[in-house]
Point group: C2
Amino acid sequence: MTESLSRRAPRRFWGWGNADAALSPREQATVNSMLAALDAPLDDRPVPQVGEFKLPAPRVAPPVALAPMFSAAPLDRLNHSAGKSWADCARMWLRQAPTPPDWVAYPDDEQAVADILDWASAAKVAVIPYGGGSSVCGGVEAAVGSGYAGAVSLDLERLNRVLEVDPVSRAARIQGGALGPELEAQLKPHGLTLRHFPQSFEFSTLGGWIVTRSGGHYATQHTHIDDFVEATRLVTPRGVLQSRRLPGSGAGPAPDRLVLGSEGTLGVLTEAWVRLQAPPRFRASAAVQFADFLQATEAVRAIAQSGLAPSNCRLLDPREALFAGVADGRRTVLVLGFESADHPLQAWMQRALELVADHGGQFDAQAVERSMAGGDEHRSGAAGAWRDAFLRMPYWRDPAVGAGVILDTFETAVTWDRFAAFYQGVKADLARAIHAATGQQSELSCRFTHVYADGPAPYFTIATRAADGSVASALAAWRDIKQAANAAVVAHGGTITHHHAVGRDHRSGYEREVDPLFRQMLAAAKQVADPHAVLNPGVLFDPAGRAVGITGALG
Amino acid sequence: MTESLSRRAPRRFWGWGNADAALSPREQATVNSMLAALDAPLDDRPVPQVGEFKLPAPRVAPPVALAPMFSAAPLDRLNHSAGKSWADCARMWLRQAPTPPDWVAYPDDEQAVADILDWASAAKVAVIPYGGGSSVCGGVEAAVGSGYAGAVSLDLERLNRVLEVDPVSRAARIQGGALGPELEAQLKPHGLTLRHFPQSFEFSTLGGWIVTRSGGHYATQHTHIDDFVEATRLVTPRGVLQSRRLPGSGAGPAPDRLVLGSEGTLGVLTEAWVRLQAPPRFRASAAVQFADFLQATEAVRAIAQSGLAPSNCRLLDPREALFAGVADGRRTVLVLGFESADHPLQAWMQRALELVADHGGQFDAQAVERSMAGGDEHRSGAAGAWRDAFLRMPYWRDPAVGAGVILDTFETAVTWDRFAAFYQGVKADLARAIHAATGQQSELSCRFTHVYADGPAPYFTIATRAADGSVASALAAWRDIKQAANAAVVAHGGTITHHHAVGRDHRSGYEREVDPLFRQMLAAAKQVADPHAVLNPGVLFDPAGRAVGITGALG
């Protein structure tokens, strides 16, 4: 069996996007200049090929009735052996896939999901629910340990339909395996949109968003997918867990909130009712420049506490702004935007600009006017430039990995009172850790992806390389840097993750952040739903009997 | 020991408010006209006195070291024997307190809470956490069944301080036992406010709001206290459960969301960090009249889906509007308001009024202008009249109970697509149930307390009386009507409670609404935190070995 059972366009198993993804000449030039700045060689190494990987034979056989949905094709196993973190890609460049799943299952429907869980529970086979596979924290890796007879990656790609649309309440029932573009295409004829656009939008699913508490389009107010979930349907080894479709409730602890963030450890999300929007008809956008980053954060705080609730409020420090192509490397840039399906936004933008001006922000008032005149300023201006760069960034990483350059990110949230010390502390801790791991001097860049009245969600980018320039050395350094980042964000008062999830890679921070008693309570709840502990072992919880370390381990 | 250990002004154990609460002549006239409309006699029966109740001697003795915090004073035991539902008050009029707690404990600090839980767990004594005691669903009743050696009501009144204020992030650390007015008075010198104003504001606590998922001031967007919780601290029999103070996080299922709605069954909420606001400087309000209720609901839906997010958006059907004194009994009234500490609200209100006009709403444009001119229109106009009536309504009920009139409410939330059928169905079911129970023809009134983009939170009021006019007959009828209401809201697609919590009285609906598998998972989590099942037995979960019925049982 060597043919993939996936019905989607072939993915690039060693990097981001489809197998035929390519950088534009302009993007390649950006990447080249970044590599040159790090004294890294341009990438000219041959990219990984499936035939270069030796995969062990599957250790278990699927049940006969389900066998047609099971694939042991090498491409399928490689595509499902890990997610898309920098370390996941680096290992592929090293031709290492230490823990491929024995099988990849492509269930046709919810009953098949239930049947697979029944079989797996009886046979003590680990099941790793798999949506788009875009995890950057070791969330879909089949590294389940020796306590299991085997491991199956459960790919939900065939559960990708919008099943029902309620135009009155503006909500839809959608299957968990629908990718962002798939569900938006099915909603479009109804004149509605979910408007959830994480950076992984093209290659992540509704189910993945929900179980990882994905962060989306809206920079304020409703930031996580959590706020758009009306009801969930989870297939567990103990049966279906279904919540009721409601606009709000106060009936005990909210069932959906246990599903949100469960990361495939409690069940497989097969369906959800989600809240939709009418597409925006009115827009307003501004690119505001500041001479000083911390002064700019005060402007953002004022906006976050104003109640104006901009849909976009991305603050880019000078390095981020340079990288995204919206400033010269000296100025901090705030990409500010409002959108509405209902009303013009002059009053909103006018007040927001008063607030930024009060804090020393400078902007092109005419460009702001143009953005509100119904033209395409929101596409062509700084907001548009930022959005295009945002969605393409994961593609830029592939040549960097091949060149031995660590290009990685971590993200968090912290209250405003702690932010200045947090920012300095995290940058200093990471500079030390990077120097210790690589011998390089390196400075993090920072942006705010989301902001709240009580604090921002800062997002840091690391760009560095190992002393000897090899991918293997860089991977070893990455492990040290990752653990240092986990320790730093939690020690300085942040959360281990605002919207990337915990997976395996953030476990060391998660365990410091979250009360052990809560984790015991959660484990007891899991024990009810998944009594044989077959669901995604190693994520959030230890597999029975052993601790699990960070990913990036080599075979 | 006959002296109360409470340090607060004496409460009216048989009704709402302080012992000396009284109706104004105008309020008394409103109540009298309502009683007259029901052919009920004016209330002239003598009100209950403490000495009329025979309380059994405490079955257990508190530990010596904690004894000074324990009271067996009859007034304390009566005040803590039940909450403030209609049935709770009716039983008092009948001089019945069938399950008073053996003791009322007034811990001085968090350590005392922990010590009491240690003792109770070892001695198998039930502990009922008690905030303001305003539960209207049997949430604080000491009806714990025969599986316990005794029952202690744990009153948090001495944990009522604001411990820390963070003016930068606009947040405060507040003890769980602080009543609404107590915490607002302590926040005021900092120029900040929580702005959580449930109807029970005067007699409910921050801890009570959090564990019951209270609904507050804001009619849209941020409706529940859930949205204002930054971190929680819960003392459980297994130790302290503390979450981290964060503006947002995606690190696994959210710990605070397990505390929210736990209704005293997982632990005692001793502290929380909550998000604050600057007090509003700008206001806009309008009273919009509609000829037709269902047409008015379409206007409300348009506003809820507009993104304008009014702070007030209460829709009163003709009977509610009459009762609140804002219309003539034929027109539906929408009380619409915006408020901001940051910006004038002309653009917001103007667009909202366009939407209501599109749906046939009529309003006094000059009064709206006056409301935005900085005067006191928001106090003197319909919005002010509504607010005053809203906070006083619980006081009006006391004479009605004594007169044998059932004056009760239930509330829910449902998606817009189902609303019209839900509204008709619930009203028809309840009319039948009321007729069967009382022989009376009776029509519910309805208002929306909160609205979401995907549905409203309707709130129904029942006013009827038993055929023989007695309180005892009315109480028997109430039990049948309550079960019918539970069945109706769930059968027609609503939630058993939007913001009143589950307690004992909503259990029959809760069990139909919430997936049994989720309830088993929750029970497993509780077993970890409260292994001897001493916390609030009968609420959300059965006490060991037996089912618990609705309250309103007689001794």
